[in-house]
């Protein structure tokens, strides 16, 4: 069953075509890796899928809702974790959870039980009243992910979630992602780390606004005759025109 | 030296390429001057008033005609009774009423005494005052036109002499005020923002790890804004003289020199602000709260300092703009020379020196 369907999606800013007629689907419970160089168009696509901007042309449905007419409904069923981890540094851990729980419409009782669960799950009970600013980066990132999931969304969008984080935490983070996918949440993520592409069920690579590769990591590696995803990416990226002028 | 010139050139690039800011910095003084000159005046014109003439004789008739002829007043009602008077005020239709009692001329000629009552809407006491003064002036005028009568005691007997600005044109006072604000904006705020921006962008780090002497960097940052203020000073003066017809009584060269000198004082202030601010936002806030507000409140340009409580008067001595105000007033409006302004100039010089010394001391050659 497809939770995201994209058909001939195009986005133009004036005369510049940021996203050029792309089509793809994402299945429920999938970990879908959305890769591409800076300027290839990934962020633009992600924003549209989250209902933050409208396509110039094309059809998009997210969680069964049409993007053009039901954008507000889409926002209620998705979670989003931005690159800067979207936590308020000058609020405590508990306060952040409370805040996000509130905006996603959780009741006080739900927030309380979620808070208890999260603190336990991340083993940060003793840090519940610490300012996020004092948390090491790895903790922040895991907390961010939990917060994006606080309202048990169907799909969660992660924008470069492991940027700058140490290797141990990156793996712990991916364990969390695996758990989420296992329980039916669809994970849509972008990343610069090619090895993380390997953890995904399927991967797409954007180049100059188009999707130039789409498939499981195994199939893509065979297709481009390389041994890892980095190889796939380099072969595609070297042919890219955008980014240098 | 070449290094210094290249620095200045770079600063000019930064300044010039920020088109929006340049537009504001060049255009704003001109706009301000025009607004203050034409639109906002302390003059009160065409005020709606009413007359209650209980006497209806020749004298009252003459006085009323003279009041009507004045451009300050517009007689909109001729009231018949006291009750009507109250109603007109309450409805806000008039700001003043001139009331002549019965047998006005008779009293005047036979007893040498006559009273005129001015009823004012004193919601705005300043305006009320001004209207009272205008009316008194007209009445005094009439009195002196009557032949041979002396000692005609009217209830209001004031002697007014308007020095330097006999028509009480508002704009004279505002020109130096606008000049001060513009210089504050360009020299203090923009300079401090420019320096702090280097810190914020991270280029300051790179510059520090180089042979450059930090003082040179800082002075290079001040130069474009100094030149910009010179342009502003000249354009403000030209506008005032030619368009608003504000005469410049004193020595023009001296005036310009003092303005440039004040610009340097303000630049030093900008430097001081940049050494304590770590973000552009902070620099802007300090500039506004610490410079603009005191300048507007306590410099004397907009509100007379002499009317303020003593502690504030003492405080106002710390505001550089106050001393600048005296200097500009003396030269531009009173036409005085160096002999009268050297003390204030010296005070400004002292302040400049003080600011520079502290800023240089506080300039961080490391990141913390």
């Amino acid at each position: 069953m497809n939770v995201i369907t994209v058909q001939s999606l195009t986005k133009q800013f004036g005369s510049f075509t940021a996203v050029d007629n792309i089509s793809f689907d994402v299945k429920k419970g999938e970990i879908f890796g959305f890769l591409g160089a800076n300027g290839a168009g990934k962020t633009t696509v992600m924003r549209m899928l989250c209902g933050l901007s409208f396509p110039t042309r094309g059809e998009v449905t997210v969680a069964g809702f049409d993007l053009f007419t039901e954008a507000e409904k889409i926002k209620k069923t998705i979670g989003y974790m931005s690159q800067k981890f979207s936590l308020y540094e000058d609020l405590t851990v508990k306060e952040n959870i409370r805040f996000y729980g509130g905006i996603y419409g959780l009741t006080d009782i739900q927030i309380k039980s979620k808070t208890d669960f999260m603190l336990q799950d991340l083993s940060i009970n003793d840090k519940a009243d610490t300012l996020v600013k004092s948390l090491p980066l790895g903790w922040r990132q895991k907390l961010s992910f939990s917060v994006a999931m606080v309202h048990e969304p169907q799909i969660v969008f992660l924008d470069e979630p492991t940027s700058g984080v140490d290797p141990v935490t990156r793996r712990e983070f991916f364990s969390m992602i695996y758990e989420a996918a296992h329980t039916g949440t669809t994970v849509f993520l972008t990343t610069h780390y090619m090895d993380e592409a390997e953890y995904c069920h399927r991967v797409s690579i954007m180049v100059d606004g188009r999707i130039d590769a789409l498939g499981t990591p195994t199939v893509l590696k065979e297709q481009f005759s390389v041994s890892d995803m980095e190889g796939v990416f380099l072969k595609l990226a070297r042919g890219a025109k955008r980014g240098d002028d | 030296m070449k290094q210094f010139i290249i620095f200045i050139r770079k600063e000019f690039f930064h300044l010039w390429r920020d088109k929006k800011t340049v537009f504001i910095l060049f255009g704003m003084p001109l706009v301000l001057i025009l607004i203050f000159g034409f639109a906002l005046t302390n003059e009160v014109k065409n005020t709606r008033i009413a007359i209650l003439d209980n006497s209806k004789d020749e004298t009252t008739g003459t006085i009323i005609r003279q009041i009507n002829a004045s451009r300050y007043f517009d007689i909109v009602r001729n009231i018949k009774s006291d009750r009507e008077l109250e109603g007109a005020f309450r409805e806000g239709k008039i700001k003043m009423a001139v009331v002549f009692p019965m047998q006005f001329q008779y009293s005047l000629l036979h007893t040498n005494k006559a009273a005129v009552q001015l009823v004012m809407d004193a919601t705005d006491p300043n305006v009320a005052n001004i209207l009272a003064n205008y009316t008194t002036a007209i009445i005094v005028d009439y009195q002196s036109s009557m032949k041979g009568h002396q000692n005609l005691p009217y209830t209001i007997n004031t002697e007014l002499r308007m020095l330097y600005n006999p028509q009480m044109k508002g704009s004279y006072n505002f020109v130096p005020g606008v000049m001060a604000i513009v210089l504050m904006l360009v020299c203090a705020m923009m300079t401090s923002i420019s320096i702090v921006r280097e810190k914020e962008m991270g280029t300051m780090e790179v510059i520090l790890v180089s042979p450059i002497v930090p003082v040179r960097l800082v002075i290079a940052k001040m130069v474009p804004y100094f030149l910009l203020s010179a342009v502003n000073i000249v354009s403000i003066l030209m506008l005032s003289f030619y368009v608003l017809e504000v005469p410049i009584q004193g020595n023009l060269a001296l005036l310009v020199a003092e303005c440039l000198f004040f610009a340097i004082t303000v630049l030093a202030l900008g430097l001081l602000i940049s050494s304590v601010a770590d973000s552009q936002q902070t620099a802007m806030l300090i500039s506004i709260m610490g410079l603009f507000l005191p300048t507007i409140m306590l410099s004397g340009f907009f509100f007379p300092v002499e009317n303020m409580p003593v502690p504030l008067q003492i405080l106002s001595n710390l505001v550089p703009a106050k001393w600048f105000y005296y200097i500009v007033e003396d030269i531009m409006i009173k036409g005085l020379g160096v002999a009268y302004v050297w003390k204030e100039t010296l005070i400004l010089a002292g302040m400049t020196f003080f600011f520079m010394v502290i800023s240089i001391r506080k300039f961080k050659t490391r990141l913390e």
Binding site: A37, N38, G39, L131, K133, S134, P136, L137, G164, V165, D166, P167, V168, T169, R171, S175, Y178, H182, H192, M194, D195, E196, E198, Y199, P217, T218, D228, M229, E230, F233, L234, A237, R238, A240, G243, D244, D245 | K2, Q3, I6, F7, K10, F13, H14, R17, D18, M201, G202, T203, E205, V206, I207, L208, V209, S210, P211, I212, R366, L367, E368
Partner: protein, 309 residues
């Protein structure tokens, strides 16, 4: 002759309600002409260390020297001779490529022409954009320009703080090729990076995490330090495979590693058939287990876990 010597440098930052120990008694040195990498994630202390070495900060305790000059007493001398490229590229966005370069040259009392052959190879790649404003350049171009600006005065030591972060994979590769070429000029180059794979491109590396120097040595030397045989495991259901392996008592550690899982057994001579059989019983029939060479990242993880204990 050693270009950089660091001796027990310690640094902490005290805030209003926060306290961060940025560096904990770090010591190491760098030979002249070496390409030295500091590998660590965000918050590891690498930027603080660089700022101390470029004399922008003073350590709480400890000493350090660059080219024989003390970082506290002789900071002016150091500032005259090092090249520094901090994070975020620190270029003037509203100046053109040429203007930026010329400015930095003048900053060091030299001209572009004087040392042109030093930056020539790099500059050629951005030369056609020389009248373009820096803000309009791509990440890769900015990076190359920033490198030119740091080199233009012929420094003896080059400090590059995360020059490849946020830049696409192709540019990253090209950048490291440029660095290797620079070594021919006998310039000592210190680079920080969060990317473990870049470690193998250095002469020597130091692994740093949360202010602690975990290890230091040549890339190969470090990789050999794992001490135990490393295995790679693959199956069609990677998630289940991980779960099962982690629950087995024979397994010392197991973690995902790209398209395979890396594992270390308690027993160096562990029988693989035993493991395969145990997995088959749990329903994982298609597992592939083979020996694999450790990478810097494997080492990093082992060292980090040791610190945690």
């Amino acid at each position: 002759m050693k270009s950089v010597i660091v001796n027990n440098v310690q640094k902490s930052f005290k805030g209003n309600k926060s306290f961060v120990q940025a560096l904990e008694e770090i010591s190491f040195d760098v030979e002249q002409g070496e390409l030295f990498g500091l590998i660590g994630s965000d918050g590891s202390g690498k930027t603080t260390l660089f700022r101390i070495l470029t004399t922008l900060m003073i350590p709480d305790s400890g000493t350090a020297s660059v080219d024989g000059f003390d970082i506290v007493k002789d900071f002016k001398a150091i500032r005259n001779r090092v090249g520094y490229m901090p994070g975020r590229f620190s270029l003037y966005q509203d100046l053109t490529v040429e203007e930026n370069l010329s400015f930095f040259a003048t900053l060091f009392n030299t001209t572009i022409e004087e040392n042109y052959d030093l930056v020539k190879d790099i500059y050629k790649q951005i030369e056609k954009f020389k009248h373009r404003r820096a803000s309009a350049l791509s990440g890769g171009m900015k990076q190359k320009l920033a490198l030119c600006c740091a080199l233009i005065h012929k420094p003896s030591v080059l400090f590059l703080d995360e020059p490849t972060t946020g830049v696409d994979a192709v540019s990253r590769q090209e950048f490291w090729e440029l660095l290797r070429q620079l070594q021919n000029q006998n310039i000592t180059i210190l680079v920080t990076t969060p990317y473990m794979d870049e470690a193998s491109l250095c002469d020597r590396v130091a692994l740093i995490q949360q202010g602690i120097l975990l290890d230091i040595g040549t890339p190969k030397g470090i990789m050999n330090k794992l001490g135990k045989p490393l295995w790679a495991a693959r199956a069609s259901n990677m998630y289940m495979l991980m779960k099962e392996l982690k629950s087995m008592k024979e397994v010392f550690s197991c973690y995902p590693f790209g398209n395979e899982h890396h594992l270390i057994f308690h027993n160096d001579g562990q029988s693989i058939e035993e493991i395969e059989t145990a997995l088959k019983k749990k329903g994982i029939v298609d597992v592939l287990l083979k020996r694999t060479e450790p990478t810097i990242e494997d080492l990093f993880m082992k060292l980090m876990n040791k610190e945690k204990l």
